[in-house]
Symmetry: C3
Subunit: 210 residues, 3 copies
């Protein structure tokens, strides 16, 4: 199940990267690069920190082709979306939920302490999005007032604490994944329903300009 989850997480993060490229008006190659870096960035950092090298995508062209495929589809369809930002945020939320669980799993499998595994899960889940936002010169999502890192950390904690007691580790995976997704979704829904307040909360001095 880990393998399927990794593929799903990669695909949705790749979509969020392609949508960021779309919002910046990049060309098709820019779409492919952003999709690939966002999709495999978190897992790559995880592999490097765990000492799994060369990183897995180097010998597995399938993962990169998946990202490129997502980029291509996004390139020809993204402008039909009513709100690319909204789709980007939800794709990012799914990727966050998936990667906080798989990042924690990989770290535990490599012998990490539970608390380090939780940190690794949170870092893996957020790193792809951080690169995406840095490359696109956007304010990183972790800085918004909504729950973000907290959702990833909650999913990782739920997985770490429940997996020893489950007959099948997949149940713990689903619990962790749902915890993270629902926490993040709650933050998103609350934020999206209040767009004007959520958009510019911290710069009162700018709104006062003529």
């Amino acid at each position: 199940m880990l393998h399927i989850l990794d593929i799903v997480g990669t695909a949705v993060f790749a979509a969020s990267g392609a949508l960021s490229a779309s919002r910046k008006g990049m060309d098709i190659i820019g779409f492919c690069l952003l999709a690939a870096v966002t999709g495999i960035g978190g897992g790559t950092l995880r592999d490097v920190l765990l000492g799994v090298q060369p990183v897995s995508w180097l010998m597995q062209p399938g993962v990169i082709l998946l990202c490129f495929g997502v980029a291509l589809v996004s390139f020809f369809t993204a402008h039909h979306l009513e709100s690319r930002e909204r789709v980007l945020l939800w794709a990012d939320a799914v990727g966050l939920a998936v990667f906080c669980v798989t990042g924690t799993q990989h770290a535990l499998a490599a012998g990490a302490s539970p608390i380090a595994a939780v940190l690794m899960g949170a870092v893996t889940a957020t790193f792809g999005g951080i690169i995406r936002d840095v490359l696109c010169n956007e304010k990183p999502l972790i800085l918004y007032k909504e729950i973000y890192v907290t959702a990833a950390a909650a999913g990782a904690v739920v997985y770490v604490t429940t997996v020893p007691f489950m007959p099948d580790p997949r149940i713990a995976e689903i619990l962790g994944l749902l915890t993270a997704f629902m926490a993040r979704a709650g933050g998103l829904v609350a934020s999206l329903s209040l767009p004007t307040y959520a958009k510019r909360p911290a710069r009162p001095q700018e709104t006062g300009r003529p």
Copy 2:
């Protein structure tokens, strides 16, 4: 002594990360993430570049718990500080001084050439703060006019050049540490006493606005 210095450097960098989280109005988990990433970021990059993997904090929960503890204390006390930015800058200065020496030491121990060890010391000392500032969407400290990288490089050079002649390497450690801290402190004091000029030195075209 290396071990104690690493702990001190991690703790003060973690404090600077938590204070950045505080200035951005993050929640307690955001405090913990920022504290951990800032506290262990420099050492992690150093370990990865030296090929020390998996990185040390993966099997040592103590380092992460230290960062989380610092984050917790900061979360409940940071708003009582008169100037969080000032405390952040001084914590960052102590971390800079400690990590430029320990980064240089680790690199020399791994067989690096003296000049590479100095570069590694400077990179280790500044990287945690760079991640912190990127995650918080702040202008990186190394861009300010005050002495910053120069202080880290000076401390590393003093350590590398004095350690072969000392009966006890701890003397060289202290010399390097004091050099870096005093250089950085000089820059800070000079800058803090001239806050308005230090804030916006490089954009004359903006000051002309009404």
Copy 3:
């Protein structure tokens, strides 16, 4: 030939880093750090992802000394240049062309699939410049409308597809290098001749504000 190309790419990227430091008014140590990080950043990421550790410059002080030398020369001559930004952009273009080929070569030599090698070439070629721009708080070059990542990817694709059919791999190197450089140069020339339109193309919704 790989070795010579790596040296050339490092030197021109170091020059672009030093020019960025110059535009930010840094001191001589800031010049050296920016030159070194930009010059060896792409190759360092490549080594880490390929599992070549400790990274090569740790035992080869020559590469770092080269960057420092470039930084010194830039420090004393940069202010004589008519347009530091223009020289920076052309140095970056040469480095991009060189590193997309050598990055691809190193990845293939490490057993990467051709498609992963192309991605590695593009990432290696752009990463040094990305760090430079992040450290200098500049909008990353890959975000500009001109061809940038596309040029690096084109050079890598040409190298990967032609090298099996060439009697001497150096011919494929030159073909890839020229492809990347000419694509990037075309984008630069077109952009430099149309500065006003190239600056703010993607935010029509903002220009409509009162």
